[in-house]
Symmetry: C2
Subunit: 487 residues, 2 copies
């Protein structure tokens, strides 16, 4: 068998359970059939705009029912969706639009400012979702059958060095991720997943995929708001929710003395190692936290702590989900015994086949995550450092190399090192160590202003330190740990 | 991606949830870890008997914990298990052993007579499970990783004509079948599947696979006994059970006025079209029946009625499970519109790649089942009959199952089989074989009168034969060819 064909996930779901609730957004709820009708209509207008299966179509959209409709319309046509992060600057967007060779950008009014700048740097076709209906409708050509190897989505990760890389996520990657999760968490007819994480992230998009594959209702919020979360867990009988640490903290704080209802069965906690005090607080409040570890390249969850161990192995991310394998290797790629730290390498059908326009070396299907961790004697994974130099700020990945690149592009900056600093609110924030050219008079404001023009706000360094030189090793590699010591 | 590698299902399950209960047999229960230790030991003795991954190893075993251990030991080694039907004659066994080129037969004392005859006709190596421990132990070479395209099992189907054919069932076929079922029925931590169907059939073996893939307890019975069933549903908190019509009838009869407990959530009813009166009886007793359609070639269930339609579409087998596709075609292979009967053809990753040593034509992955059915306007499948069982009388199609359903609804008829008899005038006419409840005095006239009230004249059986019991195979499926022989 060279590849596996399956029915189009969305049309199959609609065929199986048309009348089950699919999405609740705002005050309204849509069944799978109602959602299909909307997506089919959108697909017809997109067809009118000459969107075809072979195309890469970029989307820049907020969490909204309209976005769900557009994303599903693209699945119906079978085109490849290049899903753009809402917080990127025009310059960052331009890079990804260019790299993916997207033929069309679907966006919305609320990004007008950014879009104006994008239009200056590119002649890409732009459709605003508000104007989709104005495009002449054509009966869409629906892909009733898909190949699991077909690319469904492209999501850019900033990468550890240089430019962001477009991760190819096939239908199979999404499928296996959903199935791996189901085999761990179970699936019941009463399940309802609350999505307050962005649909443009794998954390959010994977919830949409699970909805279709399981036939499960998703309650979609535009942004994370702890009061709205607590309200909807109650009102919509939410059973599962995806969070990062800072979201969970806020929920607990807002809950005060109250408890979550008994049917709420899983708080899926990703986005980096969780602080132990937070996990302990959840235990005392009987909030069922499942720590998890995953990335864009593994189409979400890869390792999750199984129900029976959620207390006994507090702090562990668990074991690799059923379809997946995991090992810890040293710098030569040799497998390490339990309790020794090394690089986490993973293998499984939910792992990406690679990056767009980039080579990526995989050894017999093993993907090197760049993350550091160890396995205990029973094979439970403890993730120690989310990539040695990665900064995680409010659940967002920030790669120092990217900020360093921007800073180095400033004519008066000659060397730079960026690291994460502990922050009560965000977990971490980026700070920069800078060496300026002699005789220059640069101040914090000027530097931050410079960064703001080129970087999303959360990536702009929150503090600047001025040095005469940076600590580097013999081969001139920046010694970030020295910077951490200084901090 | 050419093929998909995954962890060995059984070792992965043991790694994930070693302490969950796996199998209950007789008075004893084994966790996955305990079961693994037994299977690992058995694998060591099999290794001592030179069993290797490349081999075809035949097994002739009754439902028993030892059989589970042997079957799982073969999965650990990664060898191909040729699973033999317990009810075959020595001659039939010899054909299958020869056709599969099995290098070893693993069996048990209780088949001694048959085995003696087999030994006369073959020089195959034989190991009795009772003597497995006597083979020098070697540390087994466990396949920690499998390829979904690897063959896991071979099961022979009698076919309707000619010699039986060995169906190649890959790990992938079993996997996708399990996942398709899970997406329809859901999976919960409390699930427990009662297996009274034979492990040598796909109906039983697929329960074993689901156990490993879901991490679910199986209660294994040596044979079907309705009292033991009712007892264990209660005692072991069984939630799901696989049955064929006659088993379900007996359970209902034995239940009398009692009900099954509320946690019992699924009676998976396969093995051919079910008589409507039986389904109606289940509805009135609130037994959640899921009609299903599948075969050895699809690694069990292919079409199952989804929860919300179990009442509304009484009598339908449902829709093709999530990973699968289905259509109805005419004799030229053209797809037929709703409500027109034709051959059922199926496609999906749980469908066999073909038969051992036999060509089997598939068109773009579509498998021709030889079964007759139609889809209603909403796409629900109604299986009418095996094509070979179809009776054509004066140009009219008559489906034996329909007549059998009517006869079974008679209060004094407990079992029935209908076949076509050659007829000079009509080509064929239907005749019925009947088992009446003890002490009943039914005559031909009464029965034909009863049928005439409910069936078109050409469908009314033209002859009635009274038997003490009907010929059924190990999974209680009616052997119509035996009836033909009698005729």
């Amino acid at each position: 068998m060279n590849s596996i064909q399956m029915p189009n996930f969305f049309t199959k779901r609609v065929h199986l359970t048309p009348n089950r609730p699919a999405v609740k957004f705002g005050q309204k709820e849509w069944t799978f059939k109602e959602l299909y009708d909307l997506a089919y209509k959108a697909a017809g207008h997109l067809q009118g705009a000459n969107v075809e299966k072979k195309d890469y179509i970029a989307v820049l959209l907020k969490n909204h029912i309209d976005s769900v409709v557009v994303l599903l319309a693209l699945q119906l046509i079978g085109t490849k969706a290049v899903i753009l992060n809402n917080r990127l600057t025009a310059e960052e967007l331009l890079y990804q639009l260019n790299d993916s060779q997207a033929s069309l950008l679907i966006s919305e009014d609320s990004f007008q400012d950014t879009l104006n700048s994008v239009k200056k740097g590119s002649n890409i076709n732009l459709i605003l979702k508000e104007e989709l209906d104005e495009i002449p409708y054509q009966i869409p050509l629906i892909q009733e059958e898909i190949d699991l190897d077909d690319i469904c989505t492209i999501m850019y990760t900033s990468g550890t060095s240089g430019n962001p890389k477009g991760v190819k996520q096939s239908y199979g990657n999404h499928w296996w991720s959903s199935i791996g999760s189901a085999l761990n968490l179970g699936i019941t007819e009463n399940d309802c997943w609350l999505c307050t994480v962005p649909l443009f992230h794998i954390s959010g998009y994977s919830i949409l995929m699970r909805s279709i594959i399981y036939g499960m209702k998703v309650v979609l919020h535009e942004t994370f708001d702890e009061k709205a979360v607590i309200h909807d867990i109650d009102e919509e009988r939410v059973t599962i929710m995806s969070v990062v640490s800072i979201m969970l903290s806020r929920i607990i704080e807002t809950l005060g003395e109250e408890r979550l209802p008994a049917y709420f069965r899983c708080m899926l906690l990703g986005g980096g190692p969780a602080p132990l005090p937070l996990l302990e607080k959840c235990t005392s409040k009987e909030i069922p936290v499942y720590q998890t570890y995953g990335m864009t390249e593994t189409a979400s969850q890869f390792v999750t702590l199984s129900p029976e161990y959620s207390l006994k192995k507090l702090g562990s991310a668990g074991k690799a989900l059923f379809p997946s394998q995991l090992k810890i290797v040293d710098s030569l790629g040799n497998e390490l015994p339990p309790n020794e730290s090394g690089e986490i390498v993973v293998k499984g059908p939910n792992v990406t086949s690679g990056y767009l326009n980039k080579d990526h070396q995989m050894t017999e299907g093993w993907f090197f995550t760049g993350d550091i961790g160890y396995l205990d004697n029973e094979g439970f994974l403890f993730v120690q450092d989310r990539r040695s130099d990665l900064i995680i700020s409010g659940g967002e990945n920030i790669y120092p190399a990217e900020i360093e690149g921007i800073l180095l592009s400033h004519p008066n900056i000659i060397d730079v090192g960026v690291i994460g600093k502990e922050d009560e609110k965000w977990g971490q924030v980026p700070v920069a160590f800078i060496v300026t050219s002699t005789g220059t008079d640069l101040d914090d404001n000027q530097i931050m202003q410079y960064c703001s023009e080129k970087l999303a706000k959360y990536k702009v360094p929150k503090q600047i330190f001025y040095l005469k030189g940076l600590p580097r090793n013999a081969s001139k590699k920046l010694l970030r740990r020295k910077l951490h010591e200084w901090l």
